[in-house]
């Protein structure tokens, strides 16, 4: 095809404890739609944030339109011709569409020879022109907060076009769009392509890649894997590239004797999130939930634990139908949820280990409302020993612990409630390899003691290694179920992507 408009060379980016991008290279030609795909956490979004100046790479070069560039913030990358449409929109909610489109680079004219005055007429004209190009109508004077997701995305696209960009990056643009909106978006992308723009299209939806992309680059665990012409490859080949062939062996799952069915979820429904969910789990079992980001796994677990007030459905534990109206009820019944977002929902990071552990059940740690510090400390010390939390003492602030140890505190906090069913949402996210293995060992040992575990994970090897059975979810529904013996990475990923599998 045409000339190369964008080239990334040997990009390396690390975060504390994680190598997010390792020597990744990528190039984009004029008039091309180039897909980047990979599993959750493969490094797609990080790569794009590096390109757009949100993150600065540790090493490597970025060439835009033939020039070597370093971006300190997104505004700089916009001005050099690279525009990114983020997954979570970066728009200012209380400001109007027009204000958002031109924020930071408003058109102005000199009045009285010296006063720069915003030239609304010119901005309006330009905005109208852009929306005409996009074949969309949006009132320029409405506030962003009144728009729906699809419209917000349209504004993001329009905003990027105000910069005269010739490189556009879409980060999972269809994640929250309806089919009709997706079709509209695709026709826009194709017309932009015809105008000669280079487009980077990040997605994990394979069918979309085959529909509109010219080339596809696969990333896995922050590594560059392959670049192929879409015409010369097929879904199976891409899936194989995405999952790789290696199977790590650090999941010391101990075989446990499974008991009877202890817990059943029936007809769960939450408008817009969940559709008719049914599953059951046996005592001592580890039940996995696979699916892509946004498949509804977290929503399901929150609903089951009384954290989504509008969800409907039945929960049966030990043959007894539970009535759960909030999370306090769920905890009382022995249903405990460990959030995927440790810092926001899981832990109060500025408190100590013991204070976090006692928080959900302060009543049990107090007499006449006065906290029994000794008991608090003793219980915390017990759990620290049991699940090997590495910290000097129980009164050590959680914030000063490593990610792995913080996660262990989360688990200890849940265990202290004496759960019957423990829900672990991404239990090893943001945790280094050693701690990961330790957490897996802990989970395995817990089931040996008769605890039943529901585990969400976006890492397939983890699910395959740990779980007795794996349910696969897509768009709020359960679309497949695999036993430990049958499950393979390919099967699960394919089911998660395409929604067809054996129930």
């Amino acid at each position: 095809m045409g000339e190369t408009v964008l080239e990334l060379k040997n990009i390396v980016k690390t975060f504390p404890g994680v190598l997010a991008l390792n020597d990744v290279s990528f190039d984009l030609e004029k008039g091309e739609v180039h897909a980047i795909c990979g599993e959750n956490g493969a490094g797609k979004s990080t790569l794009m944030k590096v390109l757009s100046g949100v993150y600065q790479p540790d090493s490597g070069e970025i060439h835009v339109n033939g020039q070597n560039r370093k971006f300190a913030n997104p505004m700089e990358s916009y001005k050099s011709g690279v525009s990114i449409i983020f997954q979570e929109t970066s728009l200012f909610e209380e400001m109007t569409v027009l204000e958002n489109m031109f924020l930071g680079h408003e058109t102005s004219k000199k009045t009285l020879g010296f006063l720069p005055v915003l030239n609304y007429r010119e901005m309006r004209e330009k905005a109208r022109e852009i929306f005409k190009r996009l074949n969309t109508k949006i009132d320029l004077d409405t506030k962003i907060k009144t728009l729906g997701m699809a419209q917000k995305q349209m504004v993001e696209i329009a905003k990027s076009l105000t910069f005269d960009a010739n490189i556009l990056i879409f980060d999972e643009p269809t994640a929250s769009l309806t089919q009709r909106e997706v079709d509209a978006l695709f026709s826009i992308i194709l017309s932009l392509k015809k105008e000669g723009m280079g487009i980077v299209y990040i997605s994990h939806r394979l069918e979309e890649i085959f529909e509109i992309c010219d080339r596809v680059t696969v990333l896995r665990d922050g590594q560059y894997i392959s670049t192929k012409n879409v015409g010369g490859t097929n879904k199976d080949e891409l899936v194989a590239d995405m999952v790789g062939r290696t199977m790590h062996n650090y999941y010391p799952k101990t075989e446990t004797e499974l008991g009877d069915v202890i817990f059943r979820v029936e007809n769960f429904y939450d408008e817009g999130f969940l559709e008719n969910i049914n599953f059951e789990v046996r005592k001592g079992e580890i039940l996995g939930f696979a699916g892509l980001a946004g498949a509804g796994r977290t929503e399901l677990m929150e609903a089951v634990c009384g954290l989504a007030p509008k969800a409907q459905g039945e929960v049966i534990l030990d043959g007894k139908k539970l009535s759960i109206s909030d999370y306090t009820d769920a905890m009382k019944e022995g249903l405990v949820y460990v959030s995927e977002d440790r810092g926001k929902y899981g832990l109060i990071v500025d408190m100590s280990i013991e204070e976090n552990i006692s928080m959900p059940q302060l009543k049990d740690f107090s007499k006449f409302g006065i906290i029994d510090r000794k008991k608090e400390s003793a219980v915390a010390a017990e759990y620290m020993k049991e699940i090997t939390i590495k910290a000097p003492s129980p009164d050590f602030t959680v914030n000063n612990l490593s990610g792995g140890n913080q996660q262990k505190v989360s688990i200890a906090k849940a265990l202290a409630i004496q759960p019957k069913i423990l829900v672990l949402d991404e239990p090893t996210r943001g945790v280094d390899v050693n701690a990961k293995a330790e957490i897996h060992k802990i989970i395995s040992e817990l089931t040996g003691k008769g605890l039943t575990i529901l585990m969400i994970s976006s890492e397939l090897p983890e699910l395959l290694g740990m779980c007795d059975r794996i349910y696969v979810m897509k768009e709020g529904r359960i679309v497949g179920c695999f036993s430990r013996q049958d499950a393979t990475q390919d099967k699960i990923l394919k089911t998660a992507l395409e929604g067809e599998g054996e129930e």
């Binding site: 954290l307 999370y327 306090t328 959030s339 926001k344 100590s352 928080m359 409302g369 006065i370 906290i371």
Partner: protein
């Protein structure tokens, strides 16, 4: 909270040192200051009302909230109480005073917790409302003390003003409430991370309503003492109390962003302000000038907190980095 605790420890020591230095300096300049009678009857007695209100204010600020209406709740409850006492006697007066305080506090708390209007806006508006109600009901006149109020405001017990006992009891109770009780622990949780606290099953709305109501009750108590001490009150007597109370709490090391703070700091800050106020009076420094001293002290302490916070956070960053290096290397 280990590092936080260490921080608090040094700050409380610093506050204590400041208190001692100021105290010594004033005593040297004017020995009258040192007489036990002066200390009890003037220095401590004059700061009791501020001290009482700063106790619940500390709790409120720890949750990340604020109450700009405390002084006006105080005067409103004193007014209505005194009117009731005038018609129905002292006991009714006391009951009505507390009821009014409670009602005002509940009013704030419900708007903040249930309607979710920011605390600053709510209490700013209710400040006008309470001030205005007081002014409207009294027609701008003063109201006068009644026997029950005099008993707590201007009587002695064992040679010591009654309100000092009241303050000491309240300070101890609040200290226990904040530092030792489940209630206090949950308050810190709300201030540090209200999401995670909610995910621990804590009813945050109820907690917030309770502390604002408690604040209203303490304002009523302070109101009784104040009207007893001055024997009359004007409707606008409360307005400049609002910011003074917040000054005390912030000077005591409680972060206005919520989550950190303790009552020892607040109590020490109360004493500092008390000693300063009376001390500067003893030294014949005009009462207006004392404000600048308050302001300067507040600014210096704020800058000190900022510097120490920065240092500890950069230290923490270093610690994390070395820990990581150890692991990978």
């Amino acid at each position: 909270m280990k590092t936080v605790k260490k921080l608090k420890f040094t700050f409380n020591i610093a506050l204590l040192l400041i208190l001692i230095v100021i105290f010594a300096a004033i005593s040297i300049l004017n020995p009258v200051f040192l007489s036990p009678e002066y200390l009890l009857n003037v220095v401590l007695r004059n700061v009791v009302e501020l001290g009482l209100i700063s106790l619940p204010m500390t709790l409120i600020i720890i949750t990340g909230g604020i109450d700009l209406s405390v002084g006006n709740i105080m005067v409103l409850s004193a007014m209505v109480g005194a009117m009731a006492a005038g018609r129905m006697g002292s006991v009714a007066g006391v009951i009505v005073t507390f009821l009014v305080g409670l009602a005002c506090g509940l009013f704030n708390g419900i708007i903040i917790a249930k309607v979710k209007v920011p605390a600053m806006v709510t209490t700013l508006a209710s400040m006008f409302l309470f001030l205005g109600l007081t002014r409207g009901m009294t027609g701008g006149d003063s109201v006068y003390a009644f026997p029950a109020a005099e008993a707590v405001g201007s009587k002695l017990f064992l040679g010591i003003p009654v309100q000092i006992f009241i303050y000491m009891i309240c300070a101890v109770l609040f200290y226990i409430l904040l530092a030792k009780s489940t209630f206090g622990r949950r308050l810190f949780g709300i201030g540090l991370n209200s999401n995670a606290t909610k995910y621990c099953g804590v009813d945050i709305e109820k907690m917030l309503i309770r502390i604002y109501a408690l604040s209203g009750l303490m304002c009523a108590l302070a109101a009784l003492i104040m009207i007893g001490r001055f024997s009359s009150l004007r409707y606008d007597a409360g307005t400049n109390i609002n910011l003074k109370v917040i000054t005390i709490v912030v000077l005591g090391g409680t972060s206005i962003l919520g989550g950190t703070g303790d009552l020892k700091g607040t109590i020490l800050a109360t004493l500092i302000i008390g000693v300063l106020n009376s001390g500067l009076t003893v030294l014949n420094i005009p009462i207006d000038t004392q404000t600048i001293v308050h302001g300067t002290i507040l600014i210096i302490s704020l800058i000190a907190y900022e510097i120490v916070n920065r240092r500890t956070s950069s230290k923490r960053l270093k610690e994390v980095k070395t820990e990581l290096l150890k692991k990978t290397g």
